[in-house]
Symmetry: C2
Subunit: 197 residues, 2 copies
Amino acid sequence: MQTPLIDDLISALRVLPGVGAKSAQRMAYYLLERDRKGALRLSGALQEAMDKVGHCEQCRTFSETDFCPICASSKRNQNEICVVESPSDIAVIEQSGIFRGTYFVLMGKLSPIDGIGPDEIGLPLLELRLQQQDCSELIIATNPSVEGEATAHYLQQMAKNYQIKVSRLAQGIPLGGELEYLDSGTLTQAFISRREV
Amino acid sequence: MQTPLIDDLISALRVLPGVGAKSAQRMAYYLLERDRKGALRLSGALQEAMDKVGHCEQCRTFSETDFCPICASSKRNQNEICVVESPSDIAVIEQSGIFRGTYFVLMGKLSPIDGIGPDEIGLPLLELRLQQQDCSELIIATNPSVEGEATAHYLQQMAKNYQIKVSRLAQGIPLGGELEYLDSGTLTQAFISRREV
């Protein structure tokens, strides 16, 4: 017995990932009751972002300018390319501060069963960059899932065609992880990749 | 190293209750990547709702019309008034289908320490209704918190001035609850309010 506009708002809030009927209702009432200004700000930000945010012409991450801040920065090493699946992967790598090169965002991963081939994840653009740029290293940071591994393998082959050094992020025991709770796949990888010290 | 528009969107998403930095980022990327249409719909729904949703003139719940659908309905018993703290309480009572009267929404509860007195929770409006309408019963459904109890007590006194029957929702063991996990306050109430069978 809610009014149509409130119903609309509740159902619209459900487009957000992880928001079900109950949380959507809670959010709608919260905004109406306590933060109408914030809600209008959110409305504006959504509109602006959806209208203006496109993709970086070099790395395919989200950007409202032709080149994203990382690709446009003179402080970043343009010859090291780290390939990730999604823009949120960039965020987490940037947070660590370990990498000073540039990225290439696949916006997905190879998945022939879903009709996602090399073209869909922008590999022609990456290949063009490998041809034209003096690339020193291609760091593959796809997720360790089945499709991620397949994508990594494909990228590896591609880079080898251009005699470019390829590397992958190490797999093993996470910092602060306990052996007791580790899955056997990770433990197997940690054994295989063990280092002499 | 996100672009300003994406940063704006992420920080704007944090107005939603229960959404922190990490979820806001996940939501922003999700919308940009997979549901721009849904995001624009959400933007529109927010704008519409914040602009047009006000309060019902009779019961103070959210409504874009002068009277909310419940107050305007001829099928509802206008002489039974259930007093609740917030519009979401109406939603949960309506879901149960047990109540066919009308509501009065306090939009808060008495809390002198925060400067919330009878005027702030609309009690003059309720008093006017008790005076003018032929009210048969006032059902108090405030939450069983300290402020909720104080509010209930105040309402009780008010209704008694007009010789109106007052009742409160029963407190006790919830359906499907187990004694073992019950807090002692609830258990005490359940003992005090025990019924002969």
